[in-house]
Symmetry: C2
Subunit: 338 residues, 2 copies
């Protein structure tokens, strides 16, 4: 095991998530090798205006940057086994430039692990076909609810079962806002400002409050878990701008809380909107938590609850995927005689 060559990681993007992942891989290299037989090293980093690469591995805090917008070239030239796509999600651009990064990496024979929802929402089935032809793997656990197991749980833990429907709180920002509206009696504009001050919401909050982020996750779960072929336009999407503190109060008086719920079912149902959730229900979780409930033919419903965002949490999900493809990749290589 200790003699197997390192798995070389190329980071496309170096914001909070990329830096957290770089630190974690550097700090945990030996323990990951001991536990999983996988030796991880970051050999390349591409940002919008800088690149860096090293056969021996790049150390956090000691990266020698070269100037230039050379991301695509780096994907082709940097020594690497796995591309980790952590550039900012841009759903409006058809998922570009991240889709291009993923296609380039697959063409070169790299596995792809993404936290960027763009490629998964806009080009997943196409990328999967290309990956299968190229004999590489694609993983996107980090795109839905960060380190709460969703896509990989469906793929491995529920292998003996059939998932028929998935529903949940898929956006932490709006859950934080709805929770504050219900507990403080604040109105929409107040809690939005609060969410923006705390860094939960963007200056342009539309992606969260109009339900687009949750809709993207509905598309991802529908396509990856239920085998559908959804686009964003197939999701009946409604946000939380119409929710008032008064409505929350009336709901609570009747034993309900208002939550923004995303739902996708094997019959093609795909929607996002405010829904009444009974107090004490497993989807009745507060703060910025995410909650995903899988309905299964045999095992019944199971709900996974945890933080759905955060740089470290997202990096943890990426690392799980990287270890998984590294183990699978090694097995594939062993099975094919050179």
């Amino acid at each position: 095991m200790s003699d197997s060559p390192p798995t070389r990681v190329l980071l496309a993007g170096y914001g909070g998530v990329g830096r957290a992942l770089h630190n974690i891989i550097a700090e945990r290299r030996q323990s990951i090798l001991d536990r999983h037989g996988v030796d991880l090293v970051v050999t390349g980093i591409a940002r919008s205006d800088k690149i860096a690469s090293s056969d021996e591995g790049l150390q956090p805090g000691h990266v020698q940057w070269a100037r230039g917008n050379l991301m695509d070239e780096l994907i082709w030239e940097c020594p690497a086994d796995v591309l980790v796509e952590v550039t900012p999600t841009n759903l409006a651009s058809g998922g570009q430039p991240a889709v291009g990064h993923c296609r380039g990496a697959i063409k070169r024979g790299l596995h792809v692990v993404t936290a960027n929802k763009g490629p998964v929402v806009h080009a997943w089935n196409d990328l999967k076909e290309r990956a299968e032809e190229a004999g590489v793997q694609l993983r996107a656990e980090a795109t839905v609810a960060a380190a709460v197991p969703v896509l990989n749980a469906a793929r491995t833990a529920f292998a003996g079962d059939t998932i028929t429907r998935i529903e949940g709180i898929l956006n932490g920002t709006t859950n934080f806002m709805l929770t504050r509206m219900a507990t403080e009696g604040s109105d929409f504009d107040q809690v939005l400002r609060e969410a923006q001050e705390l860094g939960y919401a963007e200056t342009d909050p539309s992606g969260d409050v109009d339900g687009h982020d949750a809709a993207a996750k509905v598309v991802i779960m529908g396509n990856e878990i239920l085998g559908l072929n959804l686009g964003l336009d197939d999701v009946d999407t409604q946000g939380i701008r119409g929710v008032t503190a008064e409505a929350s109060e009336v709901a609570l008086a009747h034993g309900y809380r208002i939550k923004l719920i995303g739902e996708v079912a094997d019959d093609g149902t795909a929607r996002v909107g405010p829904r009444l959730v009974p107090v004490g229900d497993t989807l009745d979780v507060g703060g910025a938590l995410n909650a995903v409930r899988f309905h299964r033919e045999l095992g019944g419903p199971v709900t996974h609850i945890g933080a759905g965002a955060g740089a470290t949490e997202t990096a943890a999900a990426l690392l799980g995927d990287i270890i998984d493809v590294a183990r699978g990749g090694i097995k594939t290589r062993q099975a094919v005689p050179a």
Copy 2:
């Protein structure tokens, strides 16, 4: 894929869970083959007083039984690749006779998948060593919270993280009882009778209400997930006989509910006892639900909630494990030249 030989399943035990699993495998054979490339067939069944086997596979409802207490002999002679241990759990007997079934199966080169907690509580580290030497796999997902992902989530979905502590509601019977005491104001003897009438509790309820069942799950999670070497005696175990409706009422007035919580941590802490859980906490789940919260270094806490018992639910967890070892087993065989 379709030409690979069937994976032959030998059931040790044929109670509710064994029969449910037999039915599910028969009903889903084609869909499991299509989805996972694994062709499952039940070739042997051993009960305490009857046995049956068939190279072509046994059909539910058409099993030809032979008389005799021949379980051990059948494990040796029946055509099989995987032993599924679903005889009743007997924690007081040192896990026998199930530990013997597992040892015999491993010695013969069979993978072992168990819903019986006995071997996992009493002989897991020994069985793991034997399995590693024999090149076979051991799985026990069904022993903790049935089809709620616990052991396999830790092994696969949390591979990139380090779990430091696990706590949860691990026994559905006592959760049902505590929920009824809190909502109905009933006392212990009343809710125990109710639980017995509904089939949740045994005639001798000690395993549930004195915390022994939860303690067994603490041992299993501690040894399998945290790498400890716990026995039942290492768990500081207290049951729910001392809980009263009045105590529940006082707790609720202060914003808490009384729950029987099992907990195990990487520092060796292992305990079961009634604990105050804040109303609205992710462990505040009612009815007969189970809830398991994993504390992770990177991803933070994540809670899995679902039914922790039931024949179909337990069979679903077993089936997931069987598919997993069948896929791993095929890979192992392919990697080793004949």
